[in-house]
């Protein structure tokens, strides 16, 4: 038997209980089977600690088993295992107790991406201080690499916070309410952060990602708050983004485009 056939048989023997290749000692196969499954379930739990809390051990293990069958890891690092869980529970709702679990999974995965996402230099408050009024219109902001705006259908974030911070491992939390809204997830310093956005702020962040300049942002805001108040409204948001370190200083690019 060639190496590839031997490895394929071993893989099937470990993951699906198939017959192994000829073994001189075979009782140890159970060690690999058990270790594989428990390692993968644990990896999924590490990426989705609050989903695990919501479902409890048994239902989470069933979900993890089903997910593992559908999406075996192709990753070098087990850290990325579970990237398609939200999609999976949308397609297989029978594994979860509530439709909001899909949004919770998207939110929890986004937080984990923010945790070890790319570092970026935040745009300092002073970067804007020296600008002449006529320079503002052409100004193009950039978002920090970890910034993500999630469009959610359920109010999952407050429930997530309650469960993530509860000291009692059996703490009960209310089910999320239906709520169409946007949540910003990003990292400030080393700390993953999130907050809810109103529709205008979500639209402005999206517009920044699409490369709109300050004049374009004002035009967008004007549709909501009226032309006269548009610039002031955008500046108000920009101030908050600077404080939150949501905007990036991309190696002087910001200054050049100004």
């Amino acid at each position: 038997m060639g190496l590839i056939e031997l490895q394929r048989q071993m893989r099937q023997a470990i993951t699906h209980g198939a017959s192994p290749p000829a073994l001189a000692r075979c009782d140890g196969l159970a060690v690999y089977r058990h270790a594989w499954r428990s390692r993968m379930v644990e990896a999924l739990r590490n990426n989705y600690p609050v989903i695990h809390r919501v479902l409890g051990d048994d239902a989470f293990s069933q979900l993890a088993d089903a997910y593992l069958d559908e999406h075996p890891s192709h990753f070098r690092s087990i850290r990325w295992f579970g990237d398609r869980l939200a999609e999976f529970v949308l397609a297989q709702p029978e594994f979860v107790p509530h439709p909001a679990v899909a949004d919770m999974a998207r939110f929890e995965w986004a937080l984990s991406l923010a945790f070890d996402g790319a570092d970026g230099r935040p745009l300092g408050v002073r970067a804007l201080a020296g600008l002449a009024p006529e320079q503002w219109a052409a100004l193009r902001f950039a978002l920090q690499p970890t910034c993500r705006v999630l469009a959610l259908e359920w109010s999952v974030a407050p429930v997530w916070r309650e469960l993530a911070t509860a000291e009692d491992p059996d703490h009960q939390a209310p089910m999320p309410e239906p709520l169409d809204h946007s949540v910003l997830v990003w990292r400030q310093g080393l700390q993953p952060r999130w907050r809810s956005l109103d529709a205008l702020e979500a639209g402005l962040l999206e517009a920044i990602r699409n490369g709109l300049n300050f004049a374009g942002l004002c035009a967008l805001a004007g549709e909501v708050v009226g032309e006269d108040d548009a610039a002031a409204a955008v500046v108000q948001y920009v101030r908050q983004w600077l404080v939150d370190e949501v905007l990036a200083d991309k190696a002087g690019e910001f200054i050049r485009s100004a």
């Binding site: 009782d27 990753f75 690092s77």
Partner: protein, 282 residues
Amino acid sequence: MTQTIDGFGLGLRTDHYADFTDGERRAVDWLEVISENYLVPGGKPLYFLDRIRADYPMVMHGVSMSIGSADALDLDYLGQLKVLADRIEPAWISDHLCWTGVDHANLHDLLPLPYTEAALRHLEPRIAQVQDVLGRALVLENVSSYVAYAADEMSEWDFVAELVRRAGCRLLLDVNNVYVSARNHGFDPRRFIDAVPADAVVQIHLAGHEDHGDLLIDTHDHPIRDEVFELYAYTLRRIGWRPTMIERDDRIPPLGELLAELARVRQVAAAAGAGSRNAAWV
């Protein structure tokens, strides 16, 4: 600044980040990091890695090169390893003499290879390719195993010795794994130690395991057992001093407990006459 490593080390774990960044010098000479934990874009893992690297020499230890897989080597992964190595300048880069998956599915486990001439022929050019990409000798660790293939044509130690001869790789000798596999497959662990090409060994791992009587499991969640300390002393008497560390991956105790265990490793090494502590690998 390729450094040398000497003395007694520990595996760096997130539980101990605070201990290694509080400004106090810990009684550990070097640290081993799991490469995959730092193959991320940024944030806390790399922040702490850089901070701790400023104070401690490091080696890189990977778990997913899958050097023995029938799949082609993952060049993207090797490239990422190289970038990480350029960042922290480890004394060496190790992985395991095993396979972790096939057909691009990763089982995230260290699975044994059949000890055959065909496997040797498969490994030799792959090791050469890795060494070419990384620009340095690859260090490979013997794994624990719970099955043995009927296809085996030679002992594990003959396989390892022949691989070193052909491929020019180096060895990370895991004394606990030798012990675990010896008990599981019914050979004398000293035969393995006696046959190992001593010149190729650059580092030694020690760890704890679970003893279920007829089956030992390499769990890394217990202190090192006395039997493994004995085999470690035997190893040092046979091959001479090598930089040695404790691997602990589960039920991770406070750093102080691991440092106390490391102090015992020092005593055992000293008693085995490993007084001369020249770096084996430059």
